[in-house]
Symmetry: C2
Subunit: 193 residues, 2 copies
DNA sequence: TCAATAGTGTCTGTTAGACATTATGGA
DNA sequence: TCCATAATGTCTAACAGACACTATTGA
């Protein structure tokens, strides 16, 4: 998670003051670009919260969660944190950060978010690690690869990468779903007919 | 979905003007209670949208989705609509209504929302209809009941109800999950370890 | 009786998770 | 050669969906 330093030297989440009636998502995209210097490939709105005693008297805060490549260079005055080890944020910011993760996980089953963390070409182990990081739990290797193949989400390239010791891993690239069969889902609330 | 009539006689979603910095969810609960005369058992925040040309100059609209018993009497000056047959709303309100449904469906797998539509005691057919209404698709009867039993979400009573013709149906009541085994999930993004 | 709805039992194809095995590099 | 990691194959238990059947009421 990207954290910047406030004027007082305390860690705070990046933010902008509201511009009256401006499109929120557009504003969030511009903020992300201003800070990192790059566009953000995936962004989702979070849950607005009221801010009675906000320092600048803003009535509402509207958080956004974005995901961008982990290989992105860190811009000056900011730092990336693992999502499971956040620095000491103000209570409301902490709530927003946790809510952001929640929002992200709610979206993971309908949007290939994890791919956005990776460079254009990646190994399946890296992809699995990205999923595990975002979901906050370990996955089963064989099952992960089977499901991935069934979903046609990753496309193999003919390149391989040797990562120190061990057998080299084949490189894959993201293959946006072409509606080739569609989702399967077996959750209790999603039993198909 | 509950729709009220505006001063001009047009259908609009129920709303309140923001009270500066007031807790949003509390405000939404009070609105629901004011209109229906009852508390609302389940409520979730939706995605805030900017309202540049809002009639009253509000900068942001924060929608909430609630679910309450379908047996609730209709308050004066308002009307319930099936979620799949909405009246002609203003574009922004229409977007919010559709977004609300989306939010609702995203929450259905983590909260037993469908139960909130039903009276304290209900038949399994009614429960399945509630799920189908909220999910927008048909479910498989046998599978639905199997999954329901596995989840320990409904508890049978010793009462039965005869609904005109056909075999009487056993009545069930909601049985808040007691962490008895926990969720199972087989979605691609949720493969367990 | 028939029609209509509730509820159950059985079968089959699919698949998650476990486990083992092979493949291929570096030390 | 050993070790570490990648990738694949096989097995089993579980389960979704299909289908058919029984159960129980009113007409």
């Amino acid at each position: 998670m990207l954290v910047v330093k406030s004027a007082a030297g305390k860690p705070v989440l990046p933010f902008v003051w509201s511009v009256d009636g401006e499109a929120l998502e557009q504003t969030a995209r511009e903020l992300a670009k201003d800070i990192t210097g790059h566009g953000i490939p995936w962004l989702a709105p979070g849950v607005a919260i009221a801010s009675k005693k906000h320092p600048a008297d803003a009535a509402l805060s509207v958080p956004f969660v974005g995901v961008m490549s982990a290989t992105m260079p860190t811009p000056g005055g900011s730092a990336w944190y693992p999502v499971d080890v956040l620095p000491a944020l103000a209570p409301r910011q902490k709530a927003m950060a946790e809510g952001a993760l929640e929002t992200l996980r709610l979206h993971m089953d309908v949007a290939p978010v994890a791919f956005r963390l990776l460079p254009p070409v990646f190994t399946l182990s890296e992809l699995q690690q990205a999923y595990e990081l975002l979901l906050g739990r370990l996955l089963h290797k064989a099952s992960f690869r089977r499901a991935l193949q069934a979903a046609y989400l990753a496309e193999p390239t003919d390149e391989w990468r040797s990562e120190g010791r061990g057998r080299p891993a084949q490189l894959f690239k993201f293959s946006p779903r072409k509606r080739r069969g569609g989702h399967r889902s077996v959750r209790f609330d999603l039993i198909g007919h």
